[in-house]
């Protein structure tokens, strides 16, 4: 080959695409200045709302890594969020407030646990994989419920946010930026990983696992590594969630939350790197505004907003095959000299 690199070797979903890149850049820029806008409007509430959105986005980025790129439909990823939250709450209840220890504990427990769960679950595929991941999540959920010394079903209050060197996480804006940076880091890492030789094989296991195996790729190793990595991202999201809410509860691992994470990934655009952020913004904004919207029109049915949410999810699955972000126009081929993706 000559010095020039091919222009669009990558599949459409992760190609460089001007409309998508522009959208992603605008969203990131808005997120970066959001606390200033909020303080100008004197509604600091939006900062904590946006923090929650970003934490969901982070968990969804983790899930997207195996769901969007590896084709592994895990209906149990909320269990790693649960794990991360307790990795903060339990040490904190013993007076250990160091965020470094919290993260180390979350990762240190998550890796062996996810390795074990993943190794068993990956013996299956398709629907059985969906169900076995659900089953593992249910196990962990009931495990947390039975943690009698740590609040059981009532959950565990965290006295104060983790201490993280010079960072003062008790300040909501600081916490927000810490979460934002984590999200951007996760986006960058997953982008790099997807384009890497590892990512090429991972995406091949989604597209045609039989072929990848016949070529000589030990796909189990790739899938398991991706599964563990995605679990770790969710566990970090759990650490942040416990810091935001100052609380850990078995409810963080409920199977409906795992379902919501899938909704976020698909809503954003399966297999796009930035999709989960868009999906999280849309879903949580919808959950936030639907009751208000109904209240304005049919106040008697305000508490029934989930009816509309259910229909919305149904139609997203039926009609929006590539998700909101994934549906943005793909690039014109051959315009760029180096393949990139937003």
């Amino acid at each position: 080959m000559s010095g020039t690199k091919p222009s669009s070797l990558w599949p459409v979903a992760i190609q460089w695409s001007a409309p998508r890149t522009v959208t992603a850049v605008i969203i990131i820029a808005l997120l970066a200045v959001l606390p200033m806008i909020a303080s100008a409007l004197e509604s600091s509430y939006y900062v904590s709302f946006a923090t929650r959105v970003l934490i969901y986005a982070l968990a969804a980025i983790g899930l997207n890594f195996i769901l969007g790129f590896g084709g592994m439909v895990s209906l149990g990823h909320a269990m790693y969020v649960l794990l991360g939250a307790y990795a903060v709450a339990i040490p904190a209840s013993h007076g250990v407030t160091s965020g470094f220890i919290h993260v180390a504990l979350a990762v240190g427990v998550c890796v062996p646990l996810a390795s074990g769960f993943g190794a068993v679950a990956l013996r299956t595929s398709g629907i059985a994989f969906i169900m076995i991941t659900l089953a593992f999540a249910q196990m962990l959920f009931f495990g947390a419920v039975s943690l009698k010394d740590y609040g059981g079903d009532d959950g565990l209050t965290v006295a104060a946010r983790s201490t993280l060197g010079g960072l003062d996480l008790t300040n909501n804006t600081t916490l927000y930026y810490a979460v934002l940076v984590t999200v951007l880091l996760a986006l960058y890492l997953s982008w790099r990983a997807v384009l890497s030789p590892f990512g090429l094989v991972l995406r091949a296991t989604k597209s045609n696992p039989r072929r990848a195996t016949a070529l000589g790729h030990p796909i189990f190793r790739y899938q398991l590594t991706a599964y563990v990595a995605s679990a770790v991202v969710c566990a970090v999201a759990g650490v942040l969630l416990a810091n935001l809410t100052l609380f850990a509860s078995p409810a963080y691992g409920a199977w409906t939350l795992s379902g919501e994470l899938i909704v976020i990934v698909i809503l954003g655009g399966l297999g796009t790197v930035f999709g989960p952020v868009v999906g999280a913004i849309i879903l949580l904004a919808l959950e936030e505004t639907l009751p208000t919207l109904i209240d304005a029109t049919l106040p008697d049915y305000k508490s029934n907003w989930m009816l509309l949410l259910g229909l919305f999810i149904f139609f997203v699955a039926l009609l929006l095959k590539r998700g909101v972000f994934g549906s943005l126009p793909a690039s014109v081929r051959g315009e760029r000299s180096k393949p990139e993706l937003p």
Binding site: S8, L9, A204, T213, G216, I219, Y222
Partner: protein, 247 residues
């Protein structure tokens, strides 16, 4: 040392003997063809050799190594490459990415999370070469799902070659091809002959008799004859069991 030796290979599905004590060899540089009527068990046999179907009895040796209990990907790493009767490609990938995937299967350190896969110039060069061999240099960027059937078959072969194989298993590479496409593949196979040991399963008699050094006839999972093309053509049993039907 033979490239491939099978000894009394058996596969049963329920009560049916799909592969009935098959013993065959592929010698270095040899093109050994397997023919047989539909349902003779050709694809099952290929599956057993590649490791996708577990054999019930018997053994398989590739380049002297007993691979009978080896999983598919390890057999591939020994140098066993295959194509499929029904194309098995990463449909969302570009043609070049498919071949790159094959090249990387042989790379010692493919388990890398950093670096752009397309920045590996050596690998990209190998992939481009493999595509050039099958005459697809102009289709680097084409999404595989959009390629014509014949091009997809060619791509299968390019991927097999890109793994730097020591033994090729080709499962009906001419299936479903137009005459023009067939001719291109046949000339490609001719150019490969002698450079790789090849086990070719094929329906197209003309092609088989033109290409093969030896031909085995598989009927109901059993090899009823193995010989040179000329002798097979004259074998009475083969004619009765197989060619008679075809004629």
């Amino acid at each position: 040392m033979s490239a491939l030796v099978t000894h009394a290979l058996v596969k049963r599905f329920g009560g049916v003997l799909a592969t009935d004590h098959v013993s065959l060899t592929v010698e270095p540089g040899e093109l050994h063809a397997i023919i047989g009527p539909n349902g003779a068990g050709k694809s099952t046999l290929i599956g057993q050799l590649a490791g996708e179907i577990a054999s019930d009895e018997g053994s398989v040796r590739v380049l002297g190594v007993d691979v009978s209990r080896m999983p598919t990907h390890q057999r591939a790493q020994l140098g066993l490459a295959r194509t499929y009767q029904v194309t098995q490609l990463a449909k969302e990938f570009t043609a070049l990415d498919n071949v790159l995937l094959a090249v990387n299967a042989r790379a010692a350190h493919n388990f890398r999370f950093w670096g752009n896969a397309h920045d590996d110039d050596a690998a990209m060069q190998k992939a481009a070469t493999a595509l050039a061999i099958v005459g697809m240099s102009h289709l680097h960027h084409a999404e595989v799902g959009t390629l014509a059937h014949g091009e997809q078959r060619q791509l299968e072969i390019a991927m097999a070659l890109a793994t730097e194989p020591k033994l090729l298993l080709l499962d009906e590479p001419l299936a479903g091809m137009s005459q023009g496409e067939s001719a291109a593949i046949i000339s490609l196979l001719k150019s490969l002959k002698g450079r790789y040991p090849i086990l070719l399963v094929e329906h197209d008699m003309e092609a088989v008799f033109a290409l093969a050094d030896r031909v085995s006839v598989l009927v109901y999972g059993r090899i009823i004859a193995t010989d040179t093309p000329d002798r097979i053509r004259e074998n009475a049993e083969v004619r009765a069991a197989y060619l008679g039907d075809e004629a």
